[in-house]
């Protein structure tokens, strides 16, 4: 379970402080499929970055299963992310010099998993996201939707309990979007993986179990 308490993020750009997150309190249960929505600049990305340990809060804490997420050195934070959090970014986040399979395997190699396990799991994951036949392709040879599926497979590689996705469908057509959402929902249901997805996309909101509405750094509404 994730407990977000009194989360504040203030940017001090050009001496005018911007409150990107303004006292956010929230609990996310294991196995949720949550969409974070709101107008541009309302703090969605900031929220995900802090939740994923990519950025530090100005104030407040995030407890994941009872331990303070940000109470680690930056090197420990990197390995924590590697082992416990999967990320899906808006676009072009795959390593262009690695094939789809290698992109997935790479995370496991960083974890020091044996070669045979890596190869088997990456095939399995690519099959699970519906592109088992594209393993040997380089990202540039894949469509945007296919690339995002590889990104999801990569995010799953280290068997995290939490996946954070920032506008994963922003550059996808509606067919690809609905396919990707199917896959994510399936993983959520079968593997009980928690998904938090920042989005503008109505289609994502429609498929979410819970929708959290941000405005101006604050949560203004939560729908189940």
């Amino acid at each position: 379970m994730i407990e977000i308490k009194n989360l504040v993020k203030t940017y001090n750009a050009d001496t005018i402080p911007v409150k990107a997150l303004d006292h956010v309190d929230l609990k996310i249960e294991e196995g949720e499929f949550t969409a974070v929505v709101g107008p541009s600049g309302c703090g969605k990305t900031t929220f995900l970055n802090i939740l994923g340990g990519l950025d530090t809060p100005t104030d407040g804490t995030i407890l994941i299963d009872g331990t303070d997420l940000h109470n680690r050195s930056s090197a420990d934070m990197i390995t924590y992310r590697r082992d416990h959090i999967g990320f899906v970014f808006q676009d072009y986040s795959l390593m262009p010099v690695l094939t789809a399979e290698e992109n997935v395997e790479f995370i496991m190699e960083l974890q020091g998993r044996p070669k045979a396990e890596r190869a088997a799991r990456s095939k399995e994951l690519l099959a699970a996201v519906g592109i088992g036949d594209k393993g040997k392709q380089f990202p540039t040879k894949l469509s945007g939707g296919q690339q995002q599926r590889v990104a999801v497979a990569r995010a799953l590689a280290s068997k995290p309990k939490l996946i954070l996705a920032d506008e994963p469908t922003a550059n996808l057509d509606s067919k690809s979007t609905s396919d990707l959402l199917d896959i994510m929902r399936q993983l959520n249901e079968k593997e009980n993986i928690t998904f938090v997805i920042a989005t503008h996309d109505q289609r994502v909101m429609d498929r979410a179990k819970r929708v959290i509405q941000f405005d101006d750094g604050k949560i203004i509404d939560t729908k189940i």
């Binding site: 090197a75 990197i78 590697r82 390593m95 262009p96 690695l98 280290s158």
Partner: protein, 405 residues
């Protein structure tokens, strides 16, 4: 896998990578050729000096080099000769007895240097017979002498004239004798040309009343790069209580200094060249880094520790260096081997001038690993140094900002 990624990263911008590799390739080729030519010319200098007169090494009575007195002679023994000749790098050895005397004609006198030598051995080392311009070269039983052209001109004498020599003999004996001139030679060393007199060894031994005595064995070698090794081997064979063995570098320390100075000069040129190309390489590596900031941000986001990113950058740089160095060695070394066996002939006035100075009119190259490995090492060092700042740059990247840039 990091190595695989580094390797593939190189080819994302083929043209830029190839440009960097070629700059290393040409710099190293140039450096190798230049150093090879330098070392070749030193070999030539040493050869010239050794063949002029000195030999590649000498064996004396212990203490002779410190006190080159006529009283510091040693007995010429077949046993010692055999020991010297048993070394496989020794091509030949012969005895010399040098002394100084006064030469007189009816009207003029001049101080001269008398070299009693074994005409055959001497000719093998220095091709002395080819320098005889008038009359005959010596034979081992010649009672007559040959003299330097400068000396002949000064004294106004020539072949078949007679010259009186007056000097000091062994252990205080007096030495005075009349000699017929059987030949005039043009010695390549101007100083010697003006004062040298060559005689057969027994003739000079009789002159100074020192039968069967010499002051040096002059050694000729097969491979002049192994002289130091040969000298230390000889030191093991000969009784060092009685003998001293000296290489050309000990006999002529000035030449060592000259060579070392010139060699350092050449190296500095290479360093300058390398610094120039290092700037190009540095900017390439920095560009390769800066344009991938977002990628590095994503890599740290998904769990790649920075140390591994640094290692990736370093490997990319070392790959570039390695390819550049290996190709330049693959191309350069055979070229050196060829050039070593096919030196460039210098023709025309320049060649003649060199010949006049007693040098072979050629540009010699040396093919040696010792020339090549420092270049490889230097390049590796340059690549590492060029990666330091890019690594610092990556260390400063803020993951969040990089991802959203």
């Amino acid at each position: 896998m990091i190595t695989k990624i580094a390797w593939r990263n190189l080819w994302r911008n083929k043209r830029r990578t190839i440009t960097s590799i070629s700059s290393i390739f040409f710099a190293v080729i140039l450096a190798i050729l230049m150093r090879s030519l330098q070392e070749g010319s030193y070999g030539q200098m040493i050869d010239t000096a050794a063949r002029f007169y000195m030999g590649y090494a000498q064996v004396h009575q212990k203490g002779f080099w410190e006190d080159k007195s006529i009283n510091n002679l040693m007995t010429d023994s077949q046993e010692t000769r055999n020991k010297i000749l048993s070394d496989k790098n020794i091509k030949g050895a012969f005895g010399r007895l040098e002394t100084y005397a006064m030469a007189a004609t009816d009207t003029l006198t001049k101080g001269v240097m008398i070299v009693g030598t074994e005409p055959e051995g001497e000719d093998q080392l220095s091709h002395l017979s080819q320098k005889v311009t008038k009359g005959q070269y010596l034979t081992s039983d010649s009672k007559d002498i040959i003299i330097g052209e400068g000396l002949a001109n000064y004294l106004g004498i020539t072949v078949n004239d007679t010259l009186a020599l007056l000097g000091q003999g062994y252990h205080g004996a007096s030495a005075a004798e009349l000699y017929r001139i059987q030949g005039v030679l043009k010695h390549p060393n101007p100083q010697m040309n003006n004062q040298v007199i060559y005689m057969a060894l027994p003739t000079v031994q009789y002159f100074v009343t020192a039968p069967n005595m010499i002051n040096a064995y002059i050694l000729d070698v097969h491979d002049n790069r192994k002289v130091d090794q040969t000298v230390s081997e000889l030191k093991g064979k000969l009784d060092l209580d009685n003998y001293e063995v000296m290489s050309w570098s000990e006999l002529s320390p000035e030449m060592v200094t000259l060579i070392n100075t010139d060699r350092e000069g050449g190296k500095i040129m290479i360093y300058i060249l390398y610094v120039v190309i290092a700037f190009g390489i540095f900017s390439t590596i920095l560009m390769m880094t800066i344009e991938r900031e977002r990628e590095f941000g994503i890599l740290t986001a998904v769990g790649m520790v920075r140390r591994k990113i640094y290692s990736m950058l370093l490997q990319e740089a070392l790959f570039i260096g390695l390819i550049g160095v290996v190709t330049s060695i693959l191309v350069g070394f055979p070229v050196l081997l060829y050039m070593e066996n096919h030196p460039i002939l210098i023709e025309g006035a320049k060649g003649e001038a060199m010949a006049k100075m007693g040098m072979e009119p050629i540009l010699r190259f040396t093919a040696s690993i010792d020339i090549i490995w420092p270049q490889a090492l230097l390049m590796a060092l340059i690549m590492i140094v060029c990666t330091i700042y890019p690594i610092i740059h990556v260390a400063r990247i803020k993951t969040v900002e990089a991802i959203h840039s």
